[in-house]
């Protein structure tokens, strides 16, 4: 894989986040390349979600910078980062319970086309957006559930919509926070398939505890422990690293 520095789409430089006396992110410098399939792993409390929150602007770092496409976005509001091509999903679904998946996806597609401020034409009057929604519903296997209220959908379908909403933004960088979390085994394959089918040019950062998913998906991995980067490498290197084994074995020994 090309490790040329021009290829870096998302980068953090010496990122630090303190909550009172606790340092949740400690001097994290990461580089995510174009088309990356990059997994971020680490035991619970390693600071993975805290890191994602700083990348997306949901929380502000205490020190350090976040760069998107070479541009410093450290102080930029979350919704403005999205316009620059950064999208995310959440570990816990963040959906619009009273809207249908079709409406939710149409809203996301409208946002990307800068059409979500239109107040005179009804949603759906834009045929380009409607076509996009149709494709997304198929891609995320939501056709049969497209007209139901989101909060009434089965969990696996809601999980698919969670990912679909981020993909509808056609991001350059997509952050997936535990996409398979809590999905019953019967619906898990849908999630794996859709994640595997993401467009090649999108850089994907995956946070996941499910090691089958991580090792089938990632081409590069970063291990985070206590807010610091323990190591980074290919899946084979990570799997062979005794320090990584110690972290995970140690955690298991403590009866996680």
């Amino acid at each position: 894989m090309n490790q040329n520095t021009n290829d870096v789409v998302l980068e953090t430089q010496h990122l630090v986040k303190r909550f009172g006396g606790i340092t949740a992110t400690n001097d994290v410098s990461l580089k995510i390349h174009r088309g990356a399939r990059h997994a971020l792993i680490g035991p619970n409390g390693a600071g993975k979600t805290t890191l994602i929150n700083q990348l997306t602007g949901v929380s502000a770092p205490s020190e350090g910078q976040v760069l998107l496409g070479g541009r410093d976005i450290t102080g930029l509001a979350p919704h403005k980062r999205v316009a620059l091509g950064l999208a995310r999903t959440f570990q816990i679904n963040q959906l619009f319970g009273e809207l249908t998946p079709m409406q939710s996806l149409a809203l996301a597609a409208s946002s990307r086309r800068d059409a979500a401020r239109r107040w005179w034409q009804p949603l759906g009057s834009d045929t380009a957006i409607a076509e996009e929604v149709e494709a997304l519903l198929a891609q995320f296997r939501l056709e049969a559930h497209a007209d139901r209220i989101t909060r009434e959908l089965p969990y696996g379908k809601r999980r698919l919509l969670e990912i679909g909403l981020a993909v509808a933004l056609k991001p350059r960088v997509l952050l997936l926070d535990e996409p398979a979390a809590g999905v019953p085994a019967s619906e898990r394959q849908d999630i794996l398939d859709t994640v595997a089918a993401l467009p090649e040019d999108v850089s994907v950062v995956l946070i996941e505890h499910d090691m089958d998913l991580v090792f089938s998906f990632a081409r590069r991995m970063t291990v985070l422990v206590n807010g610091t980067v323990l190591t980074e490498g290919t899946p084979a290197e990570i799997a062979a690293d005794p320090r990584v084994r110690a972290v995970y074995l140690g955690e298991q020994a403590h009866g996680r």
């Binding site: 979500a116 009804p122 076509e131 519903l137």
Partner: protein
């Protein structure tokens, strides 16, 4: 098998289409002042309350902003229209525009206080703003007339032809026309991408933000719109009664409009209309039966409505079934 599945565009557009019952309901509403001319004054009151409730529904039902101080905008619109008629010009349409703009302006100015914070913060801030305005109106009694109210407001003929009559016939048509236009405007808005994004905001603010949409900008805009429509309602009251007093800013106005909207149902545009009709008709009926205790009954209705839930209450077959 015979009928092909409607396309995504058709299904997205479906909620925006007019239903037969909606057209019939509006025909009935327009017929009301013709069929019941002796009740034109009551109809006018109902229509103004309906517009006021509709304006609250925009911010509460669609964007999820709770407010106990919506009377601030209503009152400002009322005083603005009355003072404008008294000191500048008596034309009702220009006065209505003034009241609407004043309401919207106050909404825009106070919106930074409601875009952040919890529901409790919002309840208190909105209530506080209304209280401040009430006390200001009381204090500057040389302008507002204070506790006696603003006397001698004369409103010119509507469109230069139709004099406001004592029977309130012209008034009821005038208010009805404004309500109808507001309804058409909002009906268009709530089905638009912006309107759907507001409902999304009510469901999940964080997600709206990470879809790349400005949350604060949307809240401020919808609050301003709701405030402007409340200002219009206030202006209509002042113009059609030729009077404005501290009563337009009192807390009970904010509470009544919330009650009416809750009875009619939040988050659908007919809620304000249904609620205003139910509220005023109940008021008249219950007052006729038990003049002093009407608030007892309205209170009881509210409690039952909130605890039992509207859907359950309106479908008797579910009274004894499992809770859905």
């Amino acid at each position: 098998m015979n009928s092909p599945t409607p396309s995504v565009a058709q299904r997205l557009l479906a909620p925006a289409r007019w239903r037969a019952w909606e057209i019939a309901a509006w025909a009935l509403i327009w017929a009301a002042p013709i069929a019941l001319p002796q009740h034109a004054a009551l109809i006018n009151e109902i229509v103004i309350l309906a517009l006021f409730a509709l304006s609250l529904d925009v911010i509460l039902g669609y964007a999820g902003i709770v407010s106990l101080g919506h009377a601030a905008f209503f009152g400002l619109g009322a005083y603005g229209a009355a003072l404008f008629a008294k000191h500048v010009m008596p034309d009702p349409l220009v006065g209505l525009a003034v009241g609407t703009l004043l309401g919207g302006l106050l909404g825009a100015l106070t919106s930074p206080m409601i875009v952040r914070g919890t529901d409790l913060t919002r309840l208190m801030v909105t209530m506080g703003v209304a209280l401040v305005l009430l006390e200001l109106a009381n204090k500057f009694d040389d302008i507002t007339g204070g506790a006696d109210g603003l006397q001698g407001v004369l409103i010119g003929p509507l469109l230069g032809h139709f004099e406001f009559d004592l029977g309130a016939r012209v008034a009821s048509f005038y208010s009805l026309a404004v309500l109808f236009l507001a309804f058409l405007l909002l009906r268009r808005l709530v089905r638009s991408p912006l309107g759907v994004s507001l409902q999304a905001l009510r469901d999940n603010r964080l997600r709206v933000m990470v879809l790349g949409l400005s949350v604060n900008g949307r809240l401020a805009a919808v609050y301003t719109l709701g405030a402007a429509l409340a200002g219009a309602a206030g202006a209509l009251l002042a113009q059609t009664t030729g009077f404005a007093s501290l009563d337009v800013l009192e807390f009970h106005r904010s509470a009544d409009v919330m009650t009416a909207l809750i009875i009619g149902g939040t988050g659908w545009l007919w809620g304000g209309l249904v609620g205003a009709i139910a509220f005023k008709v109940l008021h008249d009926l219950l007052s006729a039966i038990t003049p002093q205790y009407w608030t007892f009954w309205i209170g009881l209705i509210l409690v039952v409505l909130m605890l039992v839930g509207r859907e359950r209450l309106l479908s008797p077959r579910r009274w004894f079934g499992r809770r859905a």
